[in-house]
Point group: C2
């Protein structure tokens, strides 16, 4: 098509409120338009990209014997009540009522709908395994949409569901799907995406992986071991600590620490390293507001995902009122009021000679020995694995923390949904069982933005050929020159006849405007017909990734380009 | 793929609550599953059909230089407030709020979103015309979903929007789009679809057409002229009446008509033909509940669409209470209380010697002469054109009323949305104008169901090749016979290698079960490998539409089938 017909504007100015490059470039290049917080419309270039991504995904899903289905966007609340998620998921799940007052939700994922679809079909073991997928809009009412298409509220997603009669079969399929995902990301132009172990979160189930594009602007933190290859989302990474106990326990001693509230201030005042502090962090449960006090070593941070999983409910930072009898900045494990949930990280197990708050304004203790003061306690892993920390797999101090964008995820769900929703099958011997499920997601728009994030320069995206909105971008420089126009028109016709997806710029604008638009649209091959080249009977073919620039005889240019493609 | 892997069940029993054949067959054939009122999931056969329909539509839209975009499903209420439709559309528009209380709607059509997308782009006349489309889920909170996919609440739709700088350009494009629609329906297998003039309803604008599949089970009524080819939705068809005035007006006479409430009863009692009655119908306005009394000739029916358009607001049948001072069954134009909106159909213009209610329980008047009794009145067209009525175009008494399913619609919207939403462009002379819009819709699922309705027999759908879920349905009859299995397996491999989309039935079930499943899946060509045919080295190819059955040598069967396709 001709660029002068292409709807959407391209511009130079950096849009306000954009913090990542893909967001900037996809606005500047006329790929999408803001409609509401976390809600965008797609202009034709982006729609062309997302359709190509959809096609790659369809091919890979079909290669796994995937069957494409379509679930509703608006789902009856009753389905989500069956699984129990209507109550356990927070306000990300958008709930509303229809004209008759019947409660509905906007689907943010479709495990319930998948079980509803095949509950009757899957009554005999002979029907298993089977695998279905859809590509469709979803809605997740994010508290803080950001980063353009990286974290939106409405998004198009490929979601897939597999059903099995044994854990072995689920695991074998899960591996095949993991490999299909690697092929998808490689075909979409970002083979560097890695899979990492992840936390299953609201999906439930036992084992899950996320596919991460490592980039400093990513929202997720990933622990990587340089020695053994261990990879996990920080949310799911075990934190190994070496606990050292001093030979001699000093007595518990009350010490005035007026004005010292933070671990840093207290440790400085008491001349102790942070490893010798017992830090307290206060939360309240989202369910009933009950207070939770978590104690861990002063040099560590809380991994709130682990706390949530342990408690089985969401948490938020507590706002401690006077009525609670607690003194922020001076919280400690000794002499607390009743009725609190107390959690101890395993970094404190066996530790002694610690400082801690004395639960009294302006005072801390030194010489804390938890075992001596409080007896036997239950210690769990609630801490964040840290940069240069110990690898949970190989045990070496070889962990580095990177940032990443999650471009896909896969989950072994087990029988969580089938059991809750009463989906059963009869085995060969006539016994009933709940089938085991896996689920597998890829966000289409986020994948497009991730490719842009990974493949761009300061002038625009550098789209891989596989998902580029067009294959060739033909510029007629000084199109007001009839010879240029005629030669470029002819080449455009030849490219179209050869089946090359071509965007043709024959606008009477400067070469600079044409080239900056070409850079913003990121088409892999730019073909330039200009007065100077034309005199020699050549056109110029330049790769958007700057890997080459060639002069090619005009007569054979279409064939030559077809060869490049 | 193999039918034994195909998810979804096929069954013989007629499902409850189905009134039309396509609904019955698409449930019995495992095409779709009920999720909630007017909300369905699609099994793979239907998804394959809808994807083929989408592809046909994309090709035809692209041929009109259509640019595919994607709008959000969830739209901010503010957009609909800009156009004014947030207030004028009733409860079909599903309104809800997000977690922050921001009001959203579920898009039921996307005129507002289209204007929002191109409002800045289209600031110069040089950018026009342009045409964009999307294919996406929509939600319309219908009061009475029914007929399977014919009237649902959630549906996938191709919606398209064109923008123009002159009425001529809009009209020329509108004609091209009308022809593209005819090609789409022909390619989808129902060339008999006709375009009819329609009422623009909530879309606004001046001219619109609907594309109708004529069928007795259709929800719409269509007026067709057998003489001149006039075609219109009954909602939009002008009702021409021949008013005859008796030479002599009799005096207005009060007459006791105890117990006679209906026109039929009154006319029988008074020995008058129904044409000599002045019928009253009472409505109330949906906006303020104000009472509307409409008078028309006793042999005619009210066209409520015309009333709604005239009043500029929705109406519903009035429930007359005693307080209103009105007497149902005895309503007439003389002696009414103040404060009512009175409407007169033009069938009453000039009429005399009518009977009418006397606004008094048990009494009617005879000898009504509206001009004499009430002076000059405004008469409008509020009546339904009737079977054997007068054609509004050629004037002959040649109208027949048929039923139809609306499978698409196109509208000339004019500047309704661009003006309301402040979208302007500068012309060559530097003057601002509002661009003119057209919009163009096709419901994907409804089209699939309509093809089924038009192309089926008692055993199942007869899908046209262009949208059939598969091209060939291969049955290995007595697949437990190793020779049959081997020959059928080989043929399946050959068909796949030849690129024929094949559904393969190698289940160890009876030929009867295989064939009834094949009928329900409606694949155009059924290929049977059976012990008997195999002995002679043949297979049997039968067309689903019963147009032929051929015996074909097994060795050349794949090539032969490719020729048929």
């Amino acid at each position: 098509m001709k660029i002068k017909q292409l709807i959407g504007d391209r511009f130079k100015e950096r849009p306000a409120d954009c913090v990542i490059d893909s967001h900037v470039l996809m606005l500047r290049g006329g790929y999408m338009k803001y409609v509401a917080s976390g809600i965008y419309s797609q202009y034709p270039p982006l729609r062309r990209i997302t359709r190509k991504i959809e096609q790659i995904i369809r091919e890979e899903m079909d290669a796994l014997d995937g069957q494409e289905v379509q679930f509703p966007v608006a789902l009856p609340a009753a389905l989500w009540q069956e699984s129990g998620r209507y109550d356990t998921i927070g306000s990300e799940l958008l709930r509303f009522s229809d004209r008759n007052g019947a409660p509905l939700v906007l689907g943010m994922t479709h495990e319930e709908a998948a079980v509803q679809l095949v509950r009757e079909y899957g009554q005999s073991y002979a029907k298993y395994p089977f695998f279905l997928y859809q590509i469709q809009e979803k809605f997740r009412d994010e508290a803080r949409p950001r980063g353009g298409l990286i974290r939106v509220r409405e998004f198009s997603m490929k979601d897939a569901y597999s059903f099995h009669t044994s854990q072995e079969d689920l695991e074998a399929f899960y591996q095949r799907c993991l490999q299909a995902y690697e092929r998808i990301f490689a075909r979409a132009g970002i083979p560097e995406v890695i899979s990492v172990a992840s936390d299953s979160g609201m999906m439930g189930g036992s084992l899950s992986h996320e596919f991460m594009l490592l980039t400093p602007v990513g929202e997720d933190s990933i622990a990587l071991c340089g020695e053994c290859g261990y990879r996990a989302n920080l949310e799911a990474a075990e934190c190994i600590v070496e606990n050292r106990r001093d030979e001699q326990s000093q007595p518990l001693t009350l010490t005035g620490t007026p004005g010292a509230h933070t671990i840093e201030e207290v440790c400085q005042l008491l001349h102790l390293p942070r490893e010798k502090a017992c830090k307290a962090v206060a939360y309240e449960k989202e369910t009933d507001g009950g207070l939770v006090l978590l104690f861990l070593r002063g040099d560590l941070e809380v991994n709130e995902t682990k706390v949530t999983n342990f408690l089985g409910c969401g948490i938020r930072p507590a706002s401690l009122t006077e009525e609670s009898g607690l003194h922020p900045g001076f919280l400690g494990p000794c002499g607390l009021p009743d009725g609190l949930t107390l959690l101890f990280d395993r970094s404190l197990e066996n530790a002694n000679n610690l400082c801690c708050g004395a639960n009294r304004e302006g005072f801390h203790y030194t010489g804390l020995d938890l075992r001596r003061e409080l007896g036997e306690l239950r210690y769990e892993d609630f801490a964040k694995l840290q940069d240069e920390g110990i690898c949970p797999r190989c045990g070496r101090r070889s962990i580095s923390i990177s940032r990443g964008i999650e471009v896909g995820n896969i989950f072994q769900l087990g029988a969580k949904y089938t059991e809750a929703m009463g989906m059963r099958y009869l085995d060969r011997e006539g016994n009933f069982h709940f089938p085991l499920m896996g689920c597998y997601g890829i966000g289409i728009g986020r994948l497009a933005a991730s490719v842009c994030e990974a493949r761009h320069d300061e002038f625009g995206p550098v789209w891989p050929l596989s998902i580029a909105p067009w294959q060739a971008h033909l510029c007629a420089v000084r199109a007001e020159n009839p010879d240029v126009k005629e030669a470029a028109d002819r080449l455009y016709g030849e490219l179209q006849a050869a089946g090359v997806e071509t965007l043709y710029d024959d606008r009477p604008v400067s070469a600079g405007v044409q080239f900056s638009d070409a850079d913003l649209l990121g088409v892999p091959f730019r073909v330039v017909v200009s007065p100077r080249n034309l005199r020699e009977g050549y056109c110029e073919i330049a790769a958007r990734d700057h890997s080459f620039t060639q002069k090619v005889p005009l007569a054979g240019a279409a064939v030559h380009l077809l060869g490049l493609i």
